[in-house]
Symmetry: C2
Subunit: 196 residues, 2 copies
């Protein structure tokens, strides 16, 4: 692990700031692990990443190199500049205690990515209710176009795969190593990231 | 038009309250017209309709009779109890001035559903930045499952088609007759609704 690579332990989350122009790399060190990513404007935390704006402008539910991630004010927050996987999710909200209650009745409850993001972002003044759909790096959610049915399958990412973003504004980033069994092929692994 | 049916004029929006147990019917009187629907808890306006929670629990991007619409706190807000169309969108944010700027460079700008919802919901203390992905009644957004590409096509609704919801909590509802050319087959028509 390089000097400037940081680790997010399994089933946890963190938050940090990056400046406009900086490069954020999110790495799946062991493969098959999802990382939920939130972006919030440092100038005004009411401006946040928006799945609905982004999918509308990209005219696609799958985003990869060259796609722009927009805010709820239709400003570009992040640009995907490199992507060794090509499959990420931008439909589903971060897993939460309710996800475990409603979807995993055999699993002990966990605060999930929503709880982890909330605790990581609370010092920046961001309320839990305000946390929107995250950009779920490496999450593999195929959709049947005819029926609309979706499945949460194990990520396609292999050890060392990564996705790299360029920041287009000064941002607060929330980032997790996801806690939901189905999203991560049934095992919980760390996530690495670097800022350059 | 029955005594208890109200009209939303073309390219406008409104807001009103409904109580738990009441039935809201959204009608497309002429056919081919989208209505963006937002639901907000009357008890705490930080609790709002959530596309990401709903799609996750429904395991589908298309919702119809029997599906439940969840809040950001994973509580049921609305249940679809009747639906004569079977195709609605829950991926895209309400059209806005930025939508016109980015997607319709030949069209005069319009405040769109976002502006209309903002003005209608402002008296209830709801900020524009807080407006999430709406449940877009009658909006026809097919997705290619292989590539992820989406298209905004004319609605499948014919004159008199409707979708009917039962409220599971006391709600503020925002509702529009959508303003975006592509979503409405290029012409702007009214929307009718009734509360029973």
């Amino acid at each position: 692990m390089g000097d400037n690579i940081k680790e997010i332990p399994p089933r946890s989350g963190t938050a940090f700031t990056i400046d406009a122009g900086q490069i954020l790399t999110v790495i799946d060190p062991l493969g098959g692990q999802v990382a939920d990513l939130l972006a919030v404007s440092r100038v005004d935390t009411a401006e946040m990443i928006s799945s609905g704006r982004t999918l509308d402008y990209a005219e696609s539910i799958y985003l990869t190199t060259g796609n722009l991630l927009y805010s709820n004010r239709s400003n570009v927050m992040l640009e995907i500049i490199e992507d060794t996987v090509g499959r990420h999710d931008f439909l589903l909200t971060p897993c939460s205690e309710a996800t475990f209650r409603l979807c995993y009745d055999n699993e002990p409850p966990h605060q999930g990515c929503l709880g982890n993001l909330h605790h990581a972002l609370e010092p920046y003044g961001i309320a839990e209710d305000a946390i929107p759909v995250a950009f779920n790096c490496f999450m593999n959610v195929p959709v049947d176009g005819a029926t609309g049915k979706l499945k949460v399958l194990p990520p396609l990412s292999k050890a060392g795969d990564f996705i790299r973003f360029r920041a287009h504004m000064d941002l607060i980033i929330g980032l997790t190593a996801c806690s939901a069994p189905a999203s991560n092929g049934g095992s919980f692994k760390p996530i690495h990231y670097s800022i350059g």
